[in-house]
């Protein structure tokens, strides 16, 4: 049994009188420690998938089993706890608390977890040991994103979800961020899902789930995923 099983989930939004099917009967599995890229054009429904996986939204239909637990029937409070203990998020716009230093931003997340990783260690692992006392505004975009990754990792989650983590970065910095993600995934067997519309990024993934029009178009398993450094932008 796969670590994460997504079975036949559907989600539709009602916008006025129009019902938009964001995702329609999507299913896929992800194994523990896998680096998965969910790839699709804008509006394909990939973010909805991520939201549902991350416990920020619920599916209308279908099951999501994570580490043997079905979260699809979770209530609001259970979802909050799920996010709190099991999920690490990396956002496109980093979403760091501006008034906390890098270290504090990481600690802010870790302090509410049951088994957090050491904040300093995580920052060190993303290569920011000498920036720990800087405020977000004093960091570059890439650095901020790395703090954001460190914050997600420090929670020691079961699943790391990244929503267009390089969307707001130039390619060079983006690469750096992605390599951090790849490294942590491989090093600490952290199940990582990256959402992107950038097909190139999928080269670094163990598994690529292509979504189009709310449906899974294809699932490709890269036998030999490239290291980020090897990917040509």
């Amino acid at each position: 049994m796969a670590y994460i099983e997504v079975k036949n989930i559907s989600k539709s939004y009602t916008m006025g009188e129009v019902v938009i099917k964001a995702i329609d009967n999507i299913s896929f599995d992800i194994n523990k420690g896998e680096l998965v890229v969910i790839l699709g054009p804008s509006g394909a429904g990939k973010t909805t998938v991520l939201n549902i996986l991350g416990g920020m939204d619920t599916a209308d239909k279908g099951k999501i089993i994570i580490d043997g637990v079905d979260i699809s029937k979770y209530k609001k409070k259970e979802l909050t706890n799920y996010r709190r203990y099991d999920i690490g998020f990396v956002f496109q716009f980093y979403n760091l608390v501006g008034n906390l230093t890098a270290l504090e931003n990481v600690s802010l997340a870790s302090q509410i977890c049951k088994h957090p990783k050491d904040s300093m260690e995580t920052l060190k692992s993303v290569g920011l040991i000498d920036r720990i006392n800087h405020f977000p505004a004093q960091l570059s975009g890439g650095e901020q994103q790395r703090v954001s990754i460190a914050r997600a990792l420090a929670k020691n989650p079961k699943l790391l979800l990244c929503d267009e983590p390089t969307g707001a970065l130039d390619s060079k910095t983006g690469k750096k961020v992605l390599s951090v993600l790849q490294e942590t995934c491989h090093k600490s067997a952290m199940t990582t899902i990256i959402i992107t519309h950038n097909a190139i990024i999928s080269e670094m993934a163990d598994k690529v789930i292509k979504i189009k029009n709310g449906k899974v178009e294809d699932i490709v398993i890269n036998e030999k995923p490239k290291l980020v450094e090897e990917i040509d932008w």
Binding site: T47, N51, G54, M56, D57, K77, T80, N81, Y82, R83, R84, Y85, I87, F89, F91, Q92, F93, N95, L96, V97, G98, N99, L100, T101, E104, S107, L108, A109, Q111, I112, F135, P136, A137, Q138, R151, K155, D163
Partner: protein
């Protein structure tokens, strides 16, 4: 045009903000315009009432009444004057002290509520709420009216009587209860009791306002000039009248003396003559009597002598008879026989010769016989003599008796005549004396009357004209007092309020434009004219402002004045409030508000135009985090949780927002606290003044000044259970401050022990002050107004403008009116003779009205002033002040809620991403809200504490402005008010947090994470 369409979309999108913007403007403009307008509406309403009822500008009353020539002379002052002589007097009617007025058409027109104006002479109008139409009122016991019975045909109100206390009356207990208007023809008085004057120009000016006062002062000056002239004329008139009367009386007296006196004298002379005659007659009678008696005695004696002689003759005769032995009856026969014998003898003899013995014998015989014959002849002669004599005596006696009786009879009749005469004389005398006494009595009476009239004439004082303006009408002035109290208290509030409103709208707009910087950037990058962009926001703002102004002004112009006026309707008899919209203030409020909002919009948008469109399109760079000083104390810092750290850093980072929040909250707190503070101040004022300082129940004003304590008065009051009488000299004086005349009362005492019982004279630290022989103690407000301290001197003037200089030896606590306290010794040093004219005391009896009436009836007292009456007047003013305080409290509370809501929503909106992040990170709702609210709560508490301090200042400021010469406000705010303000603010904060909690819960994690706002 799309850009404006977008504005409508914005309204829809941020309805909360839009509504709060409207509410802020509405609240601000309602409060500003309402309070501004309230007192002006009240004054205008009253002015209209005064104008419609042709309320007099001046009233002249005189101690000696007024005449037609007074009226003419006033008319001559100016063509603009309407001069109406009128009648009124006070009398008890059905137990109510009632003023009977004559109905006038040209002045003080009554305001008919029900019924009709009188058409017949015996119809009357009564105060609304007293009698019913159809009632018949009897006005007895007066010399002023030709008719005593009146039928009520209408009920009225009068602009002369707008206050529930109608003033002083000259009858009963001295308090006027009601009034009745009757047709003028009913008055049967020698002179007018008052003259009303209206200035045709004054109607153009609003009552109470400076223009009106100026106009009226011109009139007053003219009247003041006229006053002494007319007083003198009237004085002379009265003097002449009185002198004429006296002269007439004197003439009459003299005539009386001449006429009746003469008559009486004549009568007396006649009587005296008669008396003399009678007396003479009596003497004559007496003499007659005596003479008669004498004659009687003489005559009787003569008769007795004659009788005795006769008796003796008889005796002798009888003896002779017996000697001769002859019986009287035999005498004649003897004689005859003898004669015969003789003849015989003779014959014998003749025949006998002489010498014969015979002859000799016969001759002897003859001799014997002749002798016998002689004897008998003697006897017969004697007898005849005796008989003759007896006959004579008897005749004489009879004659005498007749004569005597006649004389006696005559005398007796004379006597009777005398007696009758005497009786008649006595009656005559009695009548005379009666008449005489009557005459003397009348003369005396007339003389006393003249004497009295003379002394009265001497004591006729110059008549005094009293010039009474509207200001002397308690309704007129009290209303103004109440209306301006609102004004003075309200004066600073709206400004303060507007500042808070301005800050809040600035805050809201800043936030809005920051949120929409992307949109602005887009417009700019699309090449849309800056002006158009600005105008699109302006459009939004102006819609909100306009709606806010419409709501605010309609509440402000209609609701607020009515609310405030309603309090006064309980204490004043006044027409319904008319609300006026004064164009200039109204437009200026609108313009100022719009201008402020426009400035706010331009300021905030312009800031964004400085950036390049690209920068605008990008999210605003997070503000730089900064280390705060607390971090340098690792001991504390390390112990703080991250959320606390964020909170503390935030507090130091978003300075603008923090300042806004603190200012907003402290502003509201200060307003609230000031509201409570004013309430505290005014409510404790009465309590302290009349429970702690002036502790007496009543001031009994003596009719005549007393040099010493009067036992009759003591006994009279003792009977009424009024004891411990503090005899006082009380007099009203004025002092000048800032060019204004302020009244003060001089109270001088001789009994210091009783003084302690009734008046507390403590210095400002609460230590008792003693009245010394060298100076006075003055009240705090007076010292403040005159800017004097202990050791300085003050100048006061009496009603005759005489100046007195007093040395200040102490300043005492006092809150209402100004007083100068001193002892009798110092009084005499400064003012002259010390007399008592007032008794300060406590009254156990609760029936004040009855007591007043009894005391005034006793003729010792002219009036009685009860402390409770002063309290009730003050209460009316304070009630009005309280109402505005409640309005301030409510408005401040509303403002506080809006401010808090606004600040909290802004805080939340600004940090939506942060909050969403926390939510995504798995923070529970409670943790999130704590994280957000902690800041608000800290700021609120700081704001409240700051606000409490600000409130103390504001309260002090407002009260200082609101303070008039007659009040000293207690500027301490009660502890409970601080606590209540604090609690209210905390409750508001919590309420707002509960409201916004749902907002927090609703924040959508997904949306907020993705997009940049």
């Amino acid at each position: 045009m799309l850009i404006y369409k977008n504005s409508f979309k914005k309204i829809k999108k941020s309805l909360g903000r839009f509504i709060s913007l409207i509410l802020i403007v509405a609240l601000g403009s309602a409060f500003f315009s309402g309070i501004r307008e309230a007192s002006s509406d009240m004054i205008k309403t009253m002015d209209e009432y005064y104008d419609n009822t042709l309320l007099m500008d001046y009233k002249i009353v005189s101690t000696m009444g007024l005449t037609d020539s007074d009226v003419i002379s006033i008319k001559e002052l100016s063509d603009d004057l309407i001069v109406v002589p009128s009648y009124s007097f006070d009398i008890e009617v059905n137990g109510e002290i009632t003023r009977i007025h004559s109905i006038e058409d040209n002045v003080n027109k009554v305001n008919l509520i029900k019924g009709n104006m009188p058409t017949k002479i015996d119809e009357c109008l009564v105060e609304d709420g007293t009698y019913n139409i159809g009632d018949i009122i009897t006005i007895d016991d007066n010399d002023y009216l030709s008719n005593n019975k009146y039928t009520v045909v209408g009920t009225i109100t009068s602009s002369l009587y707008t206050y529930k206390n109608k003033g002083i009356a000259s009858a009963g207990d001295g308090k006027l209860d009601t009034y009745i208007y009757i047709p003028k023809d009913n008055f049967d008085m020698e002179y007018y009791t008052e003259i009303y004057i209206r200035d045709r120009n004054s109607i153009d000016y609003v009552a109470y306002e400076d223009e009106y006062l100026n106009e009226i002062t011109k009139l007053e000056n003219k009247l003041k000039e006229l006053k002494p002239i007319r007083e003198t004329i009237r004085y002379e008139e009265i003097l002449k009248e009185a002198t004429d009367k006296i002269n007439e009386a004197e003439d009459k007296l003299i005539k009386e003396k001449n006429d009746n006196g003469k008559k009486l004298e004549d009568a007396k002379n006649i009587l005296d003559n008669n008396k003399k005659t009678l007396e003479d007659a009596r003497i004559k009678w007496q003499n007659g009597m005596e003479e008669l008696e004498q004659t009687k005695v003489n005559t009787e004696r003569e008769l007795t002598n004659a009788k005795n002689e006769l008796e003796r003759g008889r005796e002798y005769y009888n003896n002779l008879l017996s000697e001769y032995g002859i019986k009287e009856s035999e005498l004649e026969s003897n004689l005859n026989s003898i004669n015969e014998n003789i003849t015989n003898i003779q014959n014998i003899l003749n025949n006998l010769e002489e010498g014969s013995s015979e002859y000799q014998q016969y001759k002897l015989m003859l001799d014997t016989l002749t002798k016998n014959k002689e004897n008998i002849e003697l006897l017969i002669n004697t007898k005849n003599e005796l008989d003759n004599s007896e006959k004579t005596i008897k005749e004489q006696e009879a004659l005498w008796n007749t004569k005597y009786n006649e004389a006696l009879k005559e005398l007796e009749s004379n006597y009777e005549q005398i007696l009758d005469g005497e009786e008649e004389l006595e009656e005559g005398y009695n009548t005379y004396y009666d008449n005489y006494n009557k005459y003397i009595e009348e003369i005396n009476k007339a003389e006393t009357e003249i004497e009295d009239a003379r002394s009265e004439l001497a004591s006729i004082e110059k008549p005094n004209w009293y010039l009474l303006s509207r200001e002397d009408n308690s309704g007129y002035t009290n209303f103004y007092e109440c209306a301006t109290k609102i004004d003075s208290i309200a004066a600073v509030f709206p400004i303060f309020f507007m500042i808070v409103v301005f800050l809040m709208s600035l805050n809201t707009m800043t936030r809005m434009i920051e949120e929409e910087r992307g949109e602005i950037g887009l417009y700019v990058s699309l090449g849309i004219n800056k002006l158009k962009i600005v105008s699109s926001y302006m459009f939004y703002v102006l819609i909100a402002t306009s709606l806010g102004l419409i709501i605010g002004l309609s509440i402000g112009y209609n609701g607020v004045p009515h609310l405030l006026y309603s309090v006064y309707e309980a204490n004043f008899i006044i027409p319904k409030l008319n609300t006026y919209i004064e164009i200039i203030p109204c437009i200026s409020i609108i313009l100022i508000t719009i201008l402020l909002m426009v400035i706010v919009t331009i300021i905030t948008i312009n800031k964004n135009f400085k950036y390049m469109p690209a920068t605008l399109l990008r999210p605003e760079a997070p503000k730089k985090g900064k280390k705060v000083f607390l971090e340098r104390i690792p001991f504390i810092w390390k112990r703080l949780s991250f959320t606390w750290k964020v909170t503390i850093r935030n507090l130091f980072r978003y300075k603008k927002r923090i300042i806004m929040t603190i200012l907003g909250i402290s502003g509201c707190t200060a307003l609230l606290l000031t509201g409570f503070g004013i309430r505290d101040s005014v409510s404790s004022l009465i309590d302290i003044q009349y429970n702690n300082i002036h502790k007496y129940d009543a001031m009994l004003i003596l009719k005549d000044e007393q040099v010493s304590i009067n036992n009759d008065i003591n006994n009279l009051l003792g009977e009424k259970n009024i004891k411990d009488l503090l005899y006082t000299h009380m007099e009203s004086y004025t002092f000048n401050t800032n060019g204004k005349k302020v009244d003060t009362y001089v109270l001088a005492f001789s009994d210091m022990d009783l003084l302690d019982k009734y008046i507390t004279i403590n210095d400002l630290e609460g230590n008792k002050l003693n009245l010394s022989d060298n100076g006075v103690v003055i009240t705090e407000k007076m010292a403040e107004l005159l800017d004097v301290g202990v050791g300085n001197t003050i100048q006061i003037r009496n009603s005759d403008n005489e100046l007195f200089i007093l040395k200040v030896e102490g300043i005492c606590e006092n809150y209402v009116n100004s007083y100068i306290y001193l002892n009798n010794t110092y009084y005499e040093k400064v003012f002259g003779e010390f007399t008592y004219n007032t008794i300060i005391t406590n009254v156990l009896d609760n029936d004040y009205e009855k007591l007043s009436e009894e005391l005034i009836d006793s003729d010792y007292f002219s009036s009685v002033q009860y402390t409770s009456d002063s309290i009730s007047i003050l209460n009316d003013i304070i009630e009005g002040m309280n109402n505005i305080v409640y309005l301030i409290i409510i408005a401040s509370s509303l403002l506080a809620i809006i401010v808090l809501y606004n600040l909290t929503t802004i805080n939340i909106n600004e940090r939506v991403r942060e909050i969403a992040t926390l939510k995504v990170l798995g923070f529970h709702d409670k943790e999130v809200s704590t994280y957000v609210y902690r800041e608000t709560i800290i700021l609120t508490i700081i704001g409240i504490i700051l606000g409490l301090f600000l409130g103390i200042t504001l309260n002090l400021f407002v009260l200082t402005i609101a303070e008039t010469e007659e009040f000293l406000f207690i500027k301490d705010i009660h502890l409970i008010s601080y606590i209540i303000t604090f609690i209210i603010m905390i409750i508001f904060t919590l309420v707002v947090e509960i409201m916004t909690y749902f907002m927090l819960k609703k924040i959508d994690m997904i949306d907020s994470l993705k997009s940049v706002e």
